[in-house]
């Protein structure tokens, strides 16, 4: 009973931190609510998980939940790795843009510009997405 209370408290806390405290709601909020709801059902009625698990070819409901958690964690790892790479690229764009602007500024201040800077479209804007 204590374990159930702890699990349910954890689910409520995740829901609160994930949705109420966020500045904006995630796109897949409904999916996350469904997952949280199913997890709550699994905690409250663990014996009801057994038939579902057996139907899916898993011996016990607890095993099925462990497998689902493993898949979920792998998915989360991939999700955050993708986010991490995206953020790295965004930082790179910012750092490179800063370097160019600073160099242009330094050149202007020194008056050593041999030719004025031409209008500079961001190169990435011209590149097809496939590249």
């Amino acid at each position: 009973m204590i374990a159930r209370i702890l699990f349910l408290t954890a689910l409520v806390a995740i829901g609160y931190l994930g949705f109420v405290r966020r500045n904006r709601l995630p796109v897949n909020i409904m999916l996350l609510f469904v997952v949280l709801g199913l997890a709550a059902v699994a905690v409250i009625f663990p014996e009801e998980m057994d038939p579902i698990a057996q139907y899916m070819g898993v011996t016990a409901g607890v095993d099925m939940i462990v497998y689902l958690v493993q898949v979920g964690l792998l998915f989360l790892s991939l999700h955050f790795y993708t986010k991490f790479v995206d953020h790295q690229r965004q930082i790179a764009v910012l750092v490179r843009e800063m370097a160019i602007l600073k160099a242009e500024l330094d050149q202007s201040r020194r008056g050593t510009t041999s030719s004025p800077p031409v209008a500079r479209d961001r190169v990435e804007d011209k590149v097809p997405a496939a590249l």
Binding site: R89, V95, R96, A103, S114, P117, V118, R120, L131
Partner: protein, 222 residues
């Protein structure tokens, strides 16, 4: 025709305080425009490059050679460059090879230096074997047939630069660039160059073990 007025030489540098001044001076003396991208070096790379007379662009954090070159290329394009050359900061490349590299663009969009058509000074047999193996793998992956796939001495026309925008920030950019060249349909020519390996440049260079990381980046972090 003298191409010096329409060409920018882009040098990406990280912790090259010891050599960058000499490299910049040798290129400037020959009349070329030089942009050095200091990739967040904690040493005096930026100050020494500026003292030698280069235009210096400074990354506030280290991003890797690919990103540094891309920054220099965009700066050069903004300055109206018609031809852009990438040149190593560790003294491996010879200024004497610059005119041939740039002139090769009269009949091509991209000129790639080849130490196998030219020569090497101070390279061990192990390094040469590794480079040939890397070239064979790269030719398979990029679809561009070259004798030397990983020479950092490159020249290209400004018109082709937007097609060659590298997304790989670190060393995998070299393989990525060849793939982009292959896709772009650019006219490619190899130019014989001589690469000088010194104790300094060998210390700064890539170890064969890093090739594994480069291949991972190239394969999975597109």
């Amino acid at each position: 025709m003298d191409h010096r007025q329409i060409t920018w030489v882009v040098i990406a540098a990280y912790n090259e305080a010891a050599m960058i001044g000499h490299v910049v001076s040798s290129v400037l003396v020959d009349g070329w425009k030089v942009a050095v991208v200091d990739d967040g070096s904690p040493d005096d790379t930026a100050a020494n490059a500026a003292a030698a007379g280069a235009v210096v662009l400074r990354h506030v954090v280290n991003l890797g050679q690919g990103a540094a070159l891309q920054t220099g290329i965009e700066f050069a394009l903004g300055r109206g460059a018609e031809r852009i050359v990438t040149f190593d900061a560790d003294g491996q490349h010879r200024v004497e090879d610059l005119p041939a590299m740039v002139a090769a663009l009269d009949d091509a969009d991209v000129a790639l230096g080849s130490r196998h058509l030219g020569g090497t000074e101070g390279a061990g047999s192990g390094r040469r074997l590794f480079l040939r193996a890397a070239t064979a793998v790269s030719n398979k992956m990029s679809g561009v047939r070259l004798t030397d796939a990983h020479c950092g001495f490159r020249a290209f026309r400004a018109t082709i630069a937007p097609m060659l925008r590298m997304r790989q920030e670190r060393m995998a950019h070299a393989s990525e660039l060849l793939g982009l060249i292959g896709k772009s349909g650019a006219r490619v020519v190899e130019v014989p160059v001589t690469i000088r390996y010194t104790d300094y440049s060998k210390r700064k260079g890539q170890s064969p073990l890093q090739a594994i990381r480069i291949m991972f980046d190239h394969a999975f972090r597109r």
